[in-house]
């Protein structure tokens, strides 16, 4: 899937366009997320953070999705997966919250540091990312959309997952049900063309995942997920469709994973360095930077100030998270059932 091939099966609906201010906000968030992500990798290599699954390469798609939900849905709720640091950050999870998770410290808001980083729930921020079990959240997201529809709420549910996840039977079952009942949900597929080491060609025999949408009688589109504006446009159309009762859609983002699957992975045994080099050329942060500076929206001084602000924020958050204690083992028996 080359950069330029933007394939859209969706009807062209006018999406409430991103403003200059939105683009600058997205850029600021992307800078923060990237700085945070890089910090966590460094802390992993220092032996401080047990594991990290990076959002690098996926950030444009993730942030565009959140902006599309914010600007086009009366209300929304997200079911995310482990690679969605930009989604969770955009939804309001602070850098310090995330760092407490990566360091398994007390006060971590999603699971009380019971779970892997980024896992647990923040219903107050409109997201759940409970499970490490690939694909289980997809029927759950559909169930949430069913609940919203039954209660007559105008919530649009967003469900994020990777290309490998699409092979799970439960994902098929969930999409089928969502389409039968025309539920208000968008399936955001972050296709980085790898499931750990297994390439997309061993995951599916079709050229792009969104082709499956036809089999569910729902719209499906594949878009350059490293391009914020294109991603926003595709996501917005799907969100609007869900919001007006038009049912579910698949939005497939063509993104890159130029780092190993996680900090525990060694990608040198299965990836060609030249391919990774190519992937890096689609770095969404650089692309957004080029867009903003090329159109005169971002001066060098402003860029430097924004980068410094991101670094400062991460530095403060790191110090604070590192100073926090591990959770007390007194709580280990709590929250098994309503009685405990």
């Amino acid at each position: 899937m080359a950069d330029a091939e933007l394939q859209t099966d969706l009807p062209d609906a006018p999406a409430d366009a991103l403003t200059t201010e939105d683009l600058l906000d997205i850029y600021a968030t992307m800078l923060l997320v990237r700085t945070l992500d890089e910090r966590v990798w460094a802390m992993n290599r220092q032996g401080k953070a047990a594991i990290v699954a990076s959002s690098q390469g996926h950030e444009a798609a993730q942030l565009a999705s959140v902006w599309a939900l914010r600007k086009n849905a009366p209300d929304f709720f997200c079911f995310t997966y482990y690679r969605d640091l930009a989604v969770t950050t955009a939804l309001g999870l602070t850098a310090e919250d995330s760092l407490r998770g990566f360091l398994a410290r007390d006060g971590e808001p999603l699971s009380g540091a019971r779970q892997f980083p980024q896992h647990g729930a923040a219903p107050e921020l409109k997201f759940i990312n409970h499970s490490n079990v690939i694909g289980t959240h997809v029927p759950q997201a559909v169930g949430w959309a069913l609940g919203a529809k039954m209660r007559g709420e105008d919530t649009v549910v967003a469900c994020f997952f990777g290309d490998g996840t699409t092979s799970q039977g439960e994902v098929h079952e969930a999409m089928n049900f969502a389409s039968i009942h025309k539920l208000p949900i968008v399936f955001f597929v972050e296709n980085n063309k790898y499931a750990i080491s297994v390439p997309m060609s061993r995951q599916m025999a079709i050229e792009r995942y969104a082709l499956r949408a036809e089999g569910y009688a729902m719209p499906g589109t594949t878009v350059d997920g490293t391009d914020v504006r294109a991603s926003y446009q595709a996501a917005s159309i799907a969100v609007q469709l869900a919001a007006i009762g038009g049912g579910p859609s698949i939005v497939e983002f063509d993104v890159e994973r130029y780092l190993p699957h996680t900090s525990d992975d060694d990608d040198t045994v299965y990836r060609d360095p030249a391919e990774i080099e190519q992937a890096r050329k689609r770095d969404p942060l650089e692309k957004l930077h080029a867009l903003l500076s090329g159109t005169g929206l971002l001066s060098e001084e402003r860029d430097a100030a924004m980068k410094k602000r991101a670094r400062d924020e991460i530095n403060v958050a790191t110090d604070s998270a590192e100073a926090a204690p591990f959770p007390s083992d007194e709580d280990v028996f709590r929250h098994v059932t309503s009685e405990t």
Partner: protein, 327 residues
């Protein structure tokens, strides 16, 4: 007081809860126009409409998964798995997810759902319509598992399950559906989850059981009474959390225990009951804990002779009781 069958009691429990609480709804295969293959949801479609009586595609994993999500969103789904033999695709969602969501979110989320399923054999159901599946679920902290055997308990426990804020697996022995009748009160009531009940008082020996074998144990107890032996029968009713106190109280009273269930013995509810007795009532025992349970074969076979060979019947239970009394 009305005299009803188990399936009627189950139907009434759901109907009353759906009328009481608009967040309660049913979903499953054939639950709509057909009213469920055992007619548990007969006429529900007309009474409650398509929105709350959902005929799902033939896909158990997502029946469970969608119910989990709907429960997370604040509804109270009652998901039906047509036969417990087809429950295995739900394990990913029930054991992997539903059981762990409260814990894994540090109490921020909960999953107030019910998964109902007809289980058990002695109905000529063969390998795939006879299975006992309770141990797999009862093993899992975070789940609640009930297995009522009478109309009163079926209605009361199902109502309690629907109102419970945690995921509850309700296992209904399909042979009891139409063969067991009993009284249920006209007024609203629940049977609290986690309470066993002494179904028959006795002084010489205790039977600890649940499900269809409760009825077979009652028959065996009546038979032994004719032989001058006083048998106490304890119906566990809830398999997680187990009512340890009621079990131990009976053991302290009789000093001899037979654990009876249709599920095979290894790593079963009976294993747990036996271990609890060994741990907490060892000094009270006058004989080793004995068990009368399904054999270690993968399923209940179809032919009547083979099925009978599997089943812990009243005769087999009575024989074990005589052995225990003679010890």
């Amino acid at each position: 007081m009305a005299v009803v069958t188990v399936i009627e009691a189950i139907r009434e429990a759901m109907r009353e809860e759906m009328a009481r609480d608009s967040s309660v709804f049913v979903m499953g295969e054939d639950v709509g126009r057909r009213g469920g293959v055992f007619l548990a949801t007969k006429d529900f479609l007309d009474e409650f409409g398509e929105q709350r009586v959902i005929d799902t595609p033939l896909a158990e994993a997502s029946i469970a998964g969608i119910a989990v999500g709907a429960a997370l969103s604040g509804l109270r789904p009652i998901a039906e798995v047509q036969f417990a033999d087809f429950i295995w695709p739900t394990v990913n969602q029930m054991i992997g997810e539903a059981a762990r969501i409260r814990y894994g979110s540090n109490g921020k989320l909960n999953v107030p759902m019910v998964l109902r399923s007809p289980y058990g054999g002695h109905v000529r159901g063969g390998l795939y319509h006879s299975q006992s599946v309770e141990s797999y679920f009862a093993h899992t902290p975070g789940l609640k598992v009930v297995a009522p055997a009478t109309p009163y308990d079926a209605k009361g426990l199902l109502k309690a399950a629907i109102r419970d804020d945690d995921p509850v697996i309700v296992l209904e022995h399909k042979r009891t559906y139409r063969s067991v009748r009993g009284e249920t009160p006209d007024e609203d009531y629940v049977v609290p989850i986690g309470l066993a009940e002494v179904k028959r008082e006795g002084t010489d020996v205790s039977v600890i059981t649940y499900g269809l074998t409760l009825h077979y144990s009652m028959q065996a107890a009546a038979e032994l009474e004719n032989e001058g032996v006083s048998v106490e029968v304890v119906d566990l009713r809830t398999l997680r959390p187990l009512d340890t106190e009621t079990v131990l109280e009976s053991v302290r009273k009789t000093s001899k225990v037979l654990v009876v269930h249709e599920d095979n013995a290894a790593v079963s509810v009976g294993s747990e009951v036996s271990a609890l007795i060994a741990e907490h009532a060892f000094e009270y025992l006058d004989a080793p804990v004995m068990r009368c349970a399904g054999p270690e074969i993968p399923a209940m076979p179809f032919a009547p002779t083979l099925e009978a060979a599997y089943m812990p019947t009243a005769e087999k239970i009575a024989a074990k009781l005589r052995e225990l009394v003679a010890y």
